[in-house]
Subunit: 591 residues, 2 copies
């Protein structure tokens, strides 16, 4: 059995001390009421729901898994999932960040991100059901007609229905241009959708009355490749004019996958067999429409990394404190006990501090990025919104790519602290490792994030977001130049920010000469960027802690973890720099 | 379904070209017949057994797992395991390296290591049953009386029985000094053993007629701590004077663990309830006796890492070749197909070359170490044997600690190449990740290996093995100083070998002043040592390939992978160096 306690102290510190979220949110359009008091209360309630309702279903949901009935095509979710969804819906969480006109509460994305972290820590498998719904709502909000929004989106915001995103096909994963699902026009303006989609999270389940699938498919006259894809709304049950459920649509789950982890999340093969669907957005513009939701989806997956790592870290710290084994190198620390606890071992503390350093800095990065999406959406000037939008575009591949990879390292280290006991199912640590293994794969593999960062955000968009971010780091370093409490952090950060710029510049030139250099450098560039980014947030964390009103123990933990990060994790930039400057020539062809 | 093909070409290259095993083995005591032809034939047969009998049971064994019957305390192994064990026994594999007087074939350890790799690649769970037997035989060979060897060891060598090692208790894992199992003398000279052992691999199963447990326990007059532990033989069925099985002993499996992986291996809770046992070796010297087997056991676990990584890498290469998705950055490479294969992506090749670089250099390191154990056992002079013994002692923590950690990285990358499909059970890649997760935990966690390397092998033993190894690298660099084909490898290797010595020296001084520095530096020192060691074996591989008779494609792959390793993986030494020189002060106390 694992423990979980909502990390409200660090969430609040990150939101209000480190990021100054209250001052920013309350001056945004429609943000007058988003005071710290309100947001604090929301966080606290989300923490309760996670601790009391979701967390207890995590291990049991993994053990039980989802079940598929071949005869009825029905999927049964694990015990407690339905009830949790009911509590979630009744608490209004499904519409937390949705607009009020759709029944939502219009709270900032950064609060949605913070509560999502809590829910995902509680039970990641379960949290995928509302997450996919949120994605579907985004799509309908941006691209749907008013009638579509009213009919298909509102019930999701109200927590009565859920949604899915149906992209992947067996032959079309990272390369969606290869997809084959067809959409034939019907006489009544609707379309008959036919094809098979795989890896459809929440594709079928027993938690809601209806499921709204957003399906990518090709119209008869579609151009080949990614420019010939359209998006369709395909409800599980057809809906009549007054919102009542009608006939069952020809959209059935054909199987569920047996996966390494995330076993409470139904990953469906979806068969569309002439299912009735409705075009949403422009013909052939479906992929572009789907990409407008990509930032939110990728940010959420980054948050999944944080959520798993946070819970794993809480448990490994707890275990290291309680497990008595061996003695301190410099003599017994608990001489009246049979052995010292694991915390006296520097190597165990190294594993714990590694987790803490990644968890807390990842939180800062993810919340920062979410806050920028609030500014992007509701900033008071065009300039401000564009600036935020460019920052978001730049940071998303880092927030998704690096945080999910680090979460794998963190859950691995958390298990390692347990020794052989970590390998035993009932101790719960191995579930975190298994659950975490998906997050570097879905919503774009790490390789895709790396290519997006270097290829699109740096080269195609000429690094506009990168320049904003480096300028921000520069300004921060300048502000704190004389601050002796931060001196050990500011000096190396300033040097790295400069080096980051130079490396970026020289890579850009190299790719101009040989496009293969992009693929050869992208992963190491992503990692390098990630470590520098987290260094910046560690420096900000210490600055915020020094200025804050937290306990001395809280502040000292921030100082210690920052020092650890700079001394022992940030030097990873050295190897990534060496690897990327070695060039495409060091990655030979393979026949 | 995964593929597996015995990597005989690379095994032979490593043994005979890189390590020159034939010349060494045939000049050792009793080695006259250990010609390349003989050893080649053994390898080929082992490869067939693995490919044809073991490999097909790997996925099914994982899916089925072991089953425990509470009523009878019996454990049923997965379908095919019994039959595989029969084939293994009938082929004489159980006694491959055992002395002829016990019915063994007295083949060199390096051949035992090579065949073990093959069996472990075929089915790691299955291979644990013979592995534990081998450990028990070692113990009896070194510490048993002639009668004990005849009664309990010979049937294991003949493949009729199996053995176990019963060390761990719930409160005593890394710290065996805490163990509580008691041994009360009986009137007949035997002992009544009482206590509970956990994590006992092969503790109970249905593959053999009898099981010989080697159990650590305390005599009534035993001093506290690790100096009061004795070792006992406790057979499942008692054995009469002529070797027939008698009464069932009070040694029962109380449960089997539900683990993350290795599901075909029965990990038992063993309850000894006044079970009849026989002292083996000296009273209170049981831990020391157990430690004499530690090198062999740890080397075998290192080989498990190699075995899993090899099979995972074969599959990911195969998948990257066959999966069509996306296009090359510099234009379509397969314009007549719907998409290019994954191999055209430099980032995919980076993941593949990472695996290959670690797999092949790990093989060289493990076989080299095994060859040293042959010299240690059968060298022609005391000096030669001592030199080899010191090298082995030094290399074991690297061979176990680093290779098992790298295997986790390799299996993770192998899965990553599959994208989302890697997460699906039926594709088999996730099993490798789950199976691999144990190997950094059992037979001493990575932290224990690191402490053994720096604390015992470097500091306590004054780095005697380290000095031999660095001298060997120095001699190799000198020999190849003028070799233009190796110039790009020799220069950085020589620099690193020198730096390794300096770092070791300065760490030793630091630890003198503050013992906590040992724990603070050990893990990074282990990693640093590992990467330099693998660099040495990559340089040797290229030297051997240039001089060898392999195909040009084989040689070019060695050159390419070595170049990749030096450019993109070896720079990891930079971060480990930075971390370890940062000192104990950067790992703060945690309350």
């Amino acid at each position: 059995m694992t423990i979980y306690k909502a990390p409200l102290d660090d969430q609040r510190f990150t939101l209000f001390d480190l990021l100054g979220a209250e001052a920013i949110l309350t001056r945004l359009q429609g943000g007058a009421e988003h005071s710290r008091d309100l947001l604090d209360a929301v966080l606290e309630e989300a923490g309760k729901l996670s601790e009391q309702v979701l967390a207890p279903t995590n291990a049991s949901g993994d053990a039980e898994g989802c079940h598929y009935d071949k005869a009825t095509h029905a999927v049964t979710t694990p015990k407690g999932f339905k009830e949790a969804f009911k509590a979630f819906s009744e608490g209004g969480w499904a519409g937390l960040t949705a607009k009020e006109e759709f029944g939502g509460q219009a709270l900032p994305n950064v609060i949605g991100t913070s509560t999502t972290e809590l829910f995902q820590s509680g039970n990641l498998s379960w949290s995928l059901y509302p997450l996919l719904s949120e994605g579907a709502c985004h799509a309908m909000e941006l691209h749907g007609t008013e009638a579509q929004q009213h009919t298909y989106m509102k019930p999701i915001v109200e927590g009565r229905w859920t949604g899915t995103m149906c992209l992947t096909e067996p032959q079309a994963g990272s390369d969606l241009g290869l997809l084959k699902t067809r959409a034939e026009p019907n006489a009544d303006g609707s379309y008959a959708i036919s094809g098979t989609k795989i890896f459809i999270s929440a594709g079928e389940h027993d938690m809601a009355e209806n499921i709204v699938h957003l399906v990518l498919a090709r119209l008869p006259d579609a151009p080949a490749g990614s420019r010939g894809i359209s998006m369709f709304i395909v409800p599980k049950f057809k809906v009549d004019a007054n919102g009542s459920l009608g006939e069952r649509n020809q959209a059935y789950a054909g199987a569920i996958e047996h996966k390494m982890g995330l076993k409470g999340s139904a990953t469906c093969v979806m068969n569309f067999d002439g299912a009735e669907g409705y075009l949403i957005g422009q013909p052939h513009k479906g992929l572009a429409a789907m990409f407008t939701m990509m930032n939110a989806a990728r940010l959420s997956v980054g948050v999944q990394g944080l959520a798993l790592a946070e819970r794993a870290w809480q448990n490994s710290l707890n275990y290291a404190r309680e497990r008595l084994q061996g003695r301190a190198l410099s003599g017994a620390k608990f001489p009246d006990k049979a052995a010292d606890n694991l915390l006296v071992q520097p190597d165990v503390r190294r594993m714990l501090l590694t987790q803490r350093a990644f968890v807390e800095a990842s939180r800062a990065l993810l919340y920062y990025t979410a806050l920028q999406t609030d500014i992007e959406a509701r900033g008071t000037s065009e300039d401000e919104r564009r600036h935020a939008s460019e920052l978001v575009a730049f940071l998303i591949p880092i927030a998704k790519g690096v945080v999910t990879e680090l979460a794998q390292e963190c859950t691995k280290e958390a298990l390692q602290v347990y020794g052989g006991h970590g390998y035993i199912g009932e101790n719960g640590m191995e579930q975190f490792v298994r659950d975490a293994r998906i997050i570097t794969l879905y919503e774009g593999t790490t390789g895709i994030q790396a290519a997006d960062l270097l290829g699109r955000k740096i080269l195609q968009l000429q690094g506009v977001g990168f320049k904003h971010f480096v300028a921000e780091i520069g300004a921060f370093c300048k502000t704190h130049a004389g601050d002796t409490k931060l001196a050990a952090l500011i000096a190396p950060l300033a040097i790295l920010a400069k080096e980051w710029g130079e490396l970026t510049q020289s890579l850009a030139q190299r790719v101009q000469a040989n496009p293969e250099e992009l693929g050869a450098a992208a992963a190491d560039y992503l990692w390098y960027s990630g470590y520098v980014t987290l260094a910046y947030f560690w420096a900000r964390a210490v600055a915020a802690a020094e200025a804050g009103t937290q306990s001395e123990a809280f502040k000292q933990a921030k100082r210690d973890t920052a020092a650890f990060y700079f001394a022992r994790l940030l030097p990873r930039t050295l190897m990534h720099k060496a690897a990327m400057v070695s060039g495409a020539g060091t990655i030979a062809d393979i026949a």
